[in-house]
């Protein structure tokens, strides 16, 4: 017969002590081979080399996932303007949308690659952008000074937008002139297309680019040409005779 029969009470006390739960006072923490074996199996955790491999794989994968998008909005004379930023800078400016749900739907459709994105309404993250946009619409600011994240665009699109961003307020230039400035004088139509896909209107002032015929040309931002005329008027550029503009 067992000299030292184990009562259920002893057993429970031992388990409680091992688990760190509140154990009865008289419970003796005599080592239990099964519990020690469990410790040997699990206490130390995975080897450092496995952890390192996992960290490398996960960090690489995570970086490849397309980021969290933070957004906020502000009221302006052309309606509610939404801005979205990543850790790298502004990725989109949108307006002419019915409400926030419509905006998020629009973001999903137009501004995102196929990668997964989380959207977070985060006014503090977007604050520099909304503040400067507010100043711009009040006529207190001409240019913007925060980074714009254009990683998803082609080199050509980026060149067109870069050249466009150098057109100061109060001036207008033609599509043809932008094509000339980037050294692709024959790519006038392509310039128009690239500007039509400008993800950050107002910040990169595609509204300052018009056709040579004096018309206003298209505008892909919300509200179309009407908004384009409104922005130009805000900057002091008004059409001349017969409603025609005179670009450089």
């Amino acid at each position: 017969m067992d000299k030292n029969p184990r009562t259920p009470q002893d057993e429970k006390g031992k388990l409680m002590a091992w688990l760190g739960d509140e154990a009865p006072r008289d419970s003796q923490a005599e080592p239990d081979p099964i519990l020690s074996a469990l410790d040997a199996l699990w206490a130390e955790g995975p080897p450092e080399a496995a952890l390192e491999t996992m960290r490398e794989a996960l960090d690489g994968w995570w970086a490849g996932q397309r980021l969290v998008l933070y957004y906020d909005s502000l009221p302006t004379p052309i309606g509610v303007v939404y801005a979205a930023v990543t850790d790298q800078g502004v990725v989109s400016v949108d307006f002419g949308l019915a409400d926030e749900a419509a905006y998020l739907e629009h973001l999903r459709e137009h501004h995102l690659s196929k990668r997964e994105v989380a959207y977070v309404h985060a006014p503090e993250r977007v604050a520099p952008v909304t503040r400067q946009l507010g100043e711009y619409f009040r006529g207190e600011r001409e240019g913007f000074d925060f980074p714009v994240d254009l990683r998803r665009l082609t080199d050509f699109q980026r060149e067109v937008l870069q050249a466009t961003s150098e057109v100061p307020p109060g001036e207008i230039v033609s599509y043809k002139e932008i094509a000339r400035r980037i050294g692709r004088p024959k790519a006038v139509r392509a310039v128009g297309n690239a500007l039509g896909r400008n993800p950050v209107p107002i910040l990169i002032p595609c509204h300052r680019v018009v056709p040579t015929d004096g018309s206003l040309g298209g505008y892909s931002g919300g509200g179309g040409s009407k908004t384009k005329a409104r922005l130009l008027a805000l900057e002091g550029v008004l059409p001349g005779e017969r409603g025609l503009y005179a670009p450089t």
Partner: protein
């Protein structure tokens, strides 16, 4: 969110006992979390939420793996690499570890999860309950019943061996 990756990996490793499977499960956990991030309440406890996702992923995995798979004990997991015992002890120890690993593999996955979370991941019973989607009492019962089952199995085995 990724700041919890080591902890979640350790948890997955203890749950499935294999470095590569644990890595896949950790990545799956973060992918699911990433997709659902939008729906997470702003004040939520991200860590507890990750445990819940990881637990679901691990339980599904264990269910799939079932009992068919032979337990292959990772030598590094047994701690043998750092053992300084004499060879007979090592053999005996390895045997015991192999038996424990087999017994653990045979445990109902929820009991295994509860034991790992309580003893090795340092979760409270409230947190375990949240991750398993049960009451605190049930979480506690999972831990104790799992441990009793392990011990009972060993008592039976030693009787067979020595009787």
């Amino acid at each position: 969110m990724l700041t919890h990756r080591d902890e979640i990996y350790r948890y997955a490793w203890r749950m499935v006992g294999d470095a590569q499977d644990a890595q896949d499960l950790t990545q799956e956990t973060f992918l699911r979390a990433y997709r659902a991030f939008e729906r997470l309440e702003p004040d939520s406890n991200v860590r507890a939420w990750l445990y819940k996702i990881a637990t679901n992923a691990c339980l599904t995995f264990l269910k799939r793996r079932g009992r068919e798979r032979m337990v292959t004990l990772d030598a590094s997991a047994s701690g043998l690499a750092v053992q300084t015992e004499t060879p007979p002890d090592v053999v005996g120890r390895l045997e015991l570890l192999r038996e424990v690993a087999e017994a653990v593999e045979a445990l109902p996955p929820r009991q295994r999860a509860a034991i790992v979370q309580r003893k090795y991941q340092g979760l409270s019973y409230g947190e375990i309950a949240a991750s398993l989607g049960c009451s605190e009492d049930t979480a506690r019962a999972h831990v104790y019943q799992g441990l009793r089952k392990l011990r009972a199995q060993f008592r039976d085995e030693s009787e067979v061996r020595h009787g």
